[in-house]
Amino acid sequence: MRRGLAIAAALLLLALPWLLHAVLPANQAGFWTGNILGRALVFGIIAMSLTFLATYGGFVSLAQMMIAGVAGYALAIFVEGAVPRIVGGAGYALAIPLGVLAATLMGLLVGAIAVRTRDIYLLMITLAVSMGVFRFVETNITWFNGYEGIRNVVGPSLLGLDFRNPWVFYHVTLGTAVLLFAGVMYLVRSPFGLVLQGIRDNPRRVSALGYNVALHRIAAFGVAGFIAGCGGVLATIYNIGISPGTIGLGATVNVLIMAVIGGLGHPVGAFLGSLIFTVFDTFAATIYDRDRFNTLIGLVFLVIVLASPDGVLGVGARLRRLLGRRAADK
């Protein structure tokens, strides 16, 4: 039944732009497809890298947005056509893997730096590394063009279709998200994933069983770095470039909020959280006031975590239990 549900959800997501097109005017359908759903998927991927670490390793990392930014900057530095030209010369087919590789390496580095810390100390050390990279990028002109960042990263054209077309962007992003999600679900049942969950429950026992806990922890951050890197590449293309604000404190906290709103119990929570966040972020101006976006999302955050400490996923689980009890009573 679970597999059937997953297939139905995937088909629905695939057909969603057509459904939107059927019920909305063309420009609004395009807006919803690219700027709401596409963007929610991009940030869902980045949030999933955090959820993966938190759910299966018990590590809450505040470095994931910065790691996504490393992929974005690597892409912008190497790809031909970016303004200003830092290195240039590479096509997207080379620059995108370079970006993801840079993020994976940064993930491994963060994992190695934070290897002995847990809980609040892990949170603080990942935040410190993020803010260090943010300040460095903001002040370095030679490599990162400082405060202004690097523009004109327009993305490749696929089979003659422009990447900036909302439908193309949405489907590429959806395909990436589905592959990464399936990869995570595969990985958590592999020996690596089981040992990672063992580390979450009892690191001392994992070590006593003959495993190298540090190696598994660092590898988990590497995997999360890869996931965040894929999101970072897509986010950079979505924004047609990258600037230090992308990896600032606000952006870092936003990813954490998405993950918590959605729920840290399962990777799908990251996408639910990201969708809710994106909708509020986009329509805050219409609903209330553009400048009051943080108040609004703060209230939504409070309501969700007060009503269900384990996020939207927790609400679903509670409803299922309630309905199950009702059915049992009958």
């Binding site: 969950q197 070590s207 003959g210």
Partner: protein, 241 residues
């Protein structure tokens, strides 16, 4: 082990302990709470390296090795309070335990249906009388079942030395015979070091008994002589205080 000591700040938890355990020997370590038994275990397993002294395993110096390196040399252990993976199933716990000493233990690839580690995990569950609970999350097991799983996980790597830290702790009287049966079924080639408060478990299972008090070894004797030993009587009946 020779002259092993462990100090935590001003507290001398283990003081100058020396003894040899022969291959295949069953040794029980007894002593009142705070005698340093678990700390002694932790120095042998590497959780806390000793502050002084030397530990050898089959002739090799292991004093400074990390816990996972000692495990790979053949030490398996259980803990006083069960240290299990609560979010995983019984089978997954045993599978992780079995894989810990396999050559390709770090792997991103899922095991196939006929994976030898999976088969060994199932066999262990059978041996520990847990095969009807394979898919159950460990958090839902009873205390007795958790203790059985704890022993099963320590046996998973086919250790040459098995160290059990109070395996009967918290067990109901009904569960104790099952534990004693499990201990008696262990192959005679296995060296066993056992910390136990319960003499009814410790004495039938042991060939030799070491009694500790205040971090030091005070008596070493065979089980039939231990109950009559005046020092042991003083410790357990309070005559020495």
């Amino acid at each position: 082990m020779t002259g092993v000591s462990r100090r935590f700040g001003a507290l001398q938890a283990v003081r100058d302990v020396s003894f040899d355990v022969m291959p295949g020997e069953r040794r029980a370590v007894l002593g009142p709470n705070g005698a340093g038994k678990t700390t002694l275990f932790n120095t042998i397993c590497g959780d806390f390296p000793p502050t002084a002294g030397r530990i050898e395993l089959f002739g090799a110096d292991i004093t400074r090795l990390k816990p996972h390196q000692r495990t790979r040399l053949g030490i398996g252990r259980t803990y006083q309070t069960s240290l299990l993976f609560n979010g995983l199933s019984v089978l997954d716990n045993l599978f992780v335990a079995v894989r810990g000493l396999r050559p390709r233990r770090f792997s991103f690839l899922r095991p196939g249906r006929d994976d030898p580690s999976l088969a060994q995990a199932r066999a262990l569950a059978d041996r520990m009388r847990l095969s009807h609970l394979l898919g159950v999350e460990v958090v839902n097991l009873s205390h007795g079942q958790r203790r059985q799983l704890e022993v099963g996980m320590a046996l998973a790597g086919d250790p040459r030395v098995l160290m059990l830290d109070e395996p009967a702790a918290g067990l109901s009287p009904g569960d104790r015979p099952e534990l004693l049966r499990l201990l008696r079924e262990l192959p005679r080639t296995l060296t066993l070091i056992l910390i136990e408060h319960d003499m009814d478990i410790a004495l039938p299972a042991a060939d030799i008994v070491t009694v500790m008090k205040d971090g030091e070894v005070v008596v070493e004797a065979t089980p039939d002589r231990i109950e009559d030993d005046p020092v042991v009587q003083a410790i357990y009946l309070g005559g020495g205080h």
